[in-house]
Amino acid sequence: MKKVFEIALGILAAIGGFVDIGDIVFNTAAGALFQYQLLWAVVIGVGAIVTYSEMCGRVAVVSQRAAFDAVRERLGFGVGLLALVAGQLVNLLTLAAEIGGIALALQLVAGLPFRVLLVIAVLALGLAIWAMPFEWIERVFGYIGLALLVFAVGAIKLHPDWGGVASGFVPHADTGDLAVYLFFVVGLLGAATVPYEVYFYSSGAIEERWTPKDLGINKANAIIGYSLGGLLSFALMITAAELFYPREISPETLGSVALGANVPLGELGLLLGLIGILFAVSGAAIDTAFAGAYNLAQFFGWEWGKYRTAVEAPRFTLAWMVMLVLGFLIVVTGVDPIQVTEYSVIFSVVALPATYVPILLVANDRAYMGNYANGRIANVFGIFYLAVILVVAVAAIPLMIISNMGQG
């Protein structure tokens, strides 16, 4: 019974933890532009993140080594360092986007200047990380982020054309502008698979002190948690398809996203939607700041972990603090947070193979993994999604240029 409870808790946290500013921006924009047509891309993105989270979680549990340990061990110092630099740049950009997203969400509630809200956001994040143990951080933000489920209720209440929704799961492109369509495919895949998720997930398995007995929890967390998280992505896209597509509105602010809960469900819907966005994006910001600190510590061999005190893992502690400050400095310059989000998602796709390849290699190494090495199913999925990611990684930048960042 305790086990069932534990799995349920983890899954709930994973649902809330999956959706971040990238998912919110890309799913809403995709629904507004292409109605239900791109739902299939979310399915592929979720499949990839489930496969690689399960894999890196298993590697971490069995070997006690997390994502960037694997990166350095398999790619060596030189190439590993390049992967680190690329991964950190993407992490920073993502973190800046999430911090900006928090301030945007706060702006809808409190009428304070944007830069003041940025300061509040970063201080609150720092305080939350400092004061709460790892499990609390994961769960508090994951659970309250579940308020996003209001978008699923809203999507149903908007009475979408379910036949059209169903056909959205079969890849087809009914559009005059293929480049924009493909740009959004890249964006949706990228938003579902942002690298910080894998960095954070693998280190989180060690933070939570999982042992091989918990491999069932690992699998359930990855499969059920991220799949249900994908459901929230569907809800955002369907809501946008109902509200914005017929009126040819492109939702350029977070406020219009929140409208998706307001129109079908009124004031309460709006409130829940805003709380959901605020906590989901804050959780993602913390995950990203941690991901940056984990990567640095693992690459250079420093002590790390929130399960250590700040005094026991001081460089790790300084690293997440510096990440928060740098993320803040990027977004305080006045760049548009939504644009930062778009760039962070597209660049993250480019950096992704440098993480997935070493994880796949280590998960197949029997000397390392013993009986827990990848079986056939994990490898079939692993290689399939790696191939998809490689194609998307190569196409991402050209598509970004050709489609003018999806503006056509």
């Binding site: 006690q64 590993g80 360092l81 510590a297 061999g301 700040a310 005094v311 001081p314 000397a367």
Partner: protein
């Protein structure tokens, strides 16, 4: 520790753990003996930024930018090799973990740092 080990995939770039299970650096390079005789064995584990010079062009670049001393740990100090390389004594005995010791002063004053 004696017995065969996989140098490239089994030791190089792996985590170093001290006798208390603390992470205290990565194996940045290795010093081998007996390569010419055809019976190579690891003599010393090398740790620290100056050691990166031996790790290709990017390593040289990184070594030029980073600060810090190099540390030599004799192979006889290795207790065990699993997914990490476990040492027989606390990190301080080898001069490892100095970076963490410096950083500790920066965070120790904050209330709750030892919790």
């Amino acid at each position: 520790m004696s017995g065969p080990v996989d140098l490239a995939l089994g030791i190089l770039d792996h985590q170093l753990l001290d006798s208390e299970g603390r992470r205290c650096g990565n194996v940045d390079d290795l010093e081998l003996q007996g390569v010419r005789e055809g019976a190579p064995r690891v003599e010393t584990i090398l740790v620290g930024p100056p050691v990166w010079r031996g790790r290709g062009a990017i390593g040289r670049l990184a070594a030029a930018v980073a600060r810090g001393r190099s540390v030599r740990v004799p192979w006889s100090e290795v207790e065990k090799v699993d997914s990490g390389v476990r040492l027989k004594q606390p990190a301080e005995a080898y001069g490892l973990g100095r970076g963490d010791a410096r950083a500790r002063k920066l965070v120790a004053w904050i209330p709750g740092a030892e919790r």
